[in-house]
């Protein structure tokens, strides 16, 4: 691990200002992904700003009937919150499908959104990776790509976004609240937080240097049946091959977002108009233009079958 200096921030604005002022700064909250990457020197921050003392760890009702989730709310606490379990079951289910009990106790809401891909070539500094070293190439294309993305990909990068939580947040129309180094705040719809790789896969979000996520807000509950179905290589503690997060209403309408198949939590609102026509119609629209490798082509039918199972479960 490269050496770094360290400070404990005392307010969100101070943290953001510090991060924009000090070169090579990174925020650290749970740290479960950042430290992992620092050990292999994929991440080499010169300065860490510990934001754990910022008191952003509360879940509060919003005036319009939703919830405001502090950036530092731990995954365990978010999944266990009675309001989330009752009104946003999809979010609890997605969180509980991710990582291990130990990691969920440490990992935060904002950190979960900003975690990096688990593409093995991103982690291996001996391999080319356009995300880690822009312009060096992509070893996953033509390499072992069974875990990789099938939509939203380019010739520069086929990495997935690994989060389960973000899939639920996307289906729930969450908004990401931030503070920028100049003290100004903004609210970013979750669908606009993550960038597609294009030719610049190293640019993963629309956040500017020093911009700090302070909260994630959920609109008022939409009811319906909430299901998060994750398909993975073992029953627990593995990343998704494919995951389907769905909210299905009594009349058959609803929302669907996917994990494990794209560089960001994947939702295509137009596909949801196809829900009365069944899983294949929705799946075809969601994965239109899919670009697979021989190793990950199975994900296309797997999405359809998983969605089919989810819709059947919602009806029963």
């Amino acid at each position: 691990m490269k050496s770094f200096s360290y400070e404990r921030a005392h307010s969100p604005a101070e943290a953001a200002a510090s991060a924009s002022r000090i070169p090579g700064s990174k925020f650290i909250a749970g740290g479960t992904n950042l430290l992992d990457l620092m050990k292999v020197e994929v991440e080499t921050p010169a300065h860490l700003i510990d934001v754990n003392g910022l008191a952003l760890d509360k879940i509060e009702p919003t005036p319009d009937g939703g919830l405001r989730i502090g950036a530092l709310v731990r995954n365990t606490d978010l999944a266990a919150d009675q309001r989330v379990r009752r009104d946003y079951g999809l979010l609890s289910r997605a969180l509980l499908a991710g990582a291990s009990g130990q990691l969920r106790n440490k990992a935060t809401t904002a950190g979960n959104l900003l975690q990096r891909t688990r593409c093995p070539y991103f982690y291996d500094t001996n391999q080319p990776c356009n995300k880690r070293l822009p312009g060096s190439g992509c070893a996953a294309i033509g390499g072992f790509s069974r875990q990789h993305a099938v939509v939203g990909v380019t010739d520069a990068c086929i990495a997935t976004h690994p989060s389960d939580m973000a899939v639920a947040m996307r289906a729930l129309d969450a908004n990401v609240e931030t503070v920028r180094p100049d003290g100004s705040v903004r609210s970013i719809p979750i669908g606009e937080l993550h960038r597609l790789p294009g030719n610049t896969p190293h640019l993963e979000t629309v956040l500017v240097q020093g911009e700090l996520i302070t909260a994630v807000t959920l609109p008022k509950p939409v009811g319906g049946t909430h299901i998060y179905q994750k398909v993975r290589d073992r029953a627990s503690y593995a990343f998704a091959l494919v995951s389907v997060g769905a909210i299905v209403q009594r009349d058959g309408s609803g929302r669907v977002a996917l994990g494990g198949v794209a560089p960001k939590p994947w939702r295509v609102e137009e596909a949801e108009a196809e829900m009365p026509h069944g899983a294949k119609a929705v799946s075809d629209r969601l994965l239109a233009g899919a670009k697979t490798t021989p190793e990950n082509a199975f994900k296309v039918p797997l999405v359809q079958r998983t969605l089919s199972a989810v819709l059947a479960a919602a009806r029963s």
């Binding site: 200096s5 080499t44 627990s236």
Partner: protein
């Protein structure tokens, strides 16, 4: 690559060391020029010391550590509490599990300096050879190990798992999200999935945990 860059690297390294020194004293404007290289390279292999104090097994410990020191290394290498084990050192195996402020975490994936004022329990703090914690005794009784390397992490995790179920925290396998979870074999297996046992003592570990919980599975 190395040969071609040698001459350049020396001067660049010097620049980075200069940049780092400035950084440590908090000079902001002077850093404007080398700002990118400091972040990119962080090549100065200087140890940056930082003070931290926390309670370990009830005892206040004050340390001055390189900022890079993980909580795991602080416990093992600085406090000589070697019960906590380093398995994978990347959060996959659970051998390093300790309980911090009532919650089990992977001590390998957190920095010691991030735990100012925390209260940490390691396997040494659960019980002693003369006075075992019930979970330790149950692991012995049920032969919940073979080589024993994962055992301290398994035991810390197991103690915390029963606490999590008692506190009503749901899991992936909880059928009803709004109901209070129960200690069942399925629940315990799911909740213990962050602790790997290469010897495969899982069924005995399950027996130990459920016995401590007072349920038959």
């Amino acid at each position: 690559m190395k040969d071609a860059g040698d001459g350049l690297d020396v001067s660049r390294r010097d620049l980075l060391i200069l940049g780092r020194d400035l950084l440590v004293v908090g000079s902001v404007t002077a850093l404007a020029a080398p700002s990118v290289v400091v972040g990119q390279g962080a090549a100065a292999e200087l140890s940056v010391p930082s003070k931290v104090s926390f309670k370990v097994n009830g005892e206040l410990r004050e340390l001055e550590l390189d900022t890079r020191t993980t909580l795991l290394d602080a416990l093992r290498e600085h406090l000589l509490l070697t019960g906590t084990k380093k398995g994978c050192d990347q959060g996959q195996c659970g051998a390093c599990t300790v309980i911090v402020d009532g919650r089990r975490i992977n001590s390998c994936l957190t920095l010691a300096v991030m735990h100012e004022g925390a209260s940490i329990t390691t396997v040494e703090g659960l019980g002693t050879p003369e006075n075992l914690h019930p979970m330790q005794a149950a692991f012995v009784k049920h032969d919940g190990y073979q080589c024993g390397y994962c055992t301290p992490g398994q035991i810390c995790s197991a103690v915390a798992v029963l606490g999590e179920i008692k506190d009503g925290i749901p899991s992936h396998v909880s059928a009803d999200l709004t109901a209070h979870p129960q200690v069942t074999a399925v629940e315990v297996r799911e909740r213990m999935s962050g602790n790997i046992c290469r010897c495969g003592a899982y069924s005995n570990i399950l027996d130990a945990i459920t016995e401590v919980a007072g349920v038959k599975v």
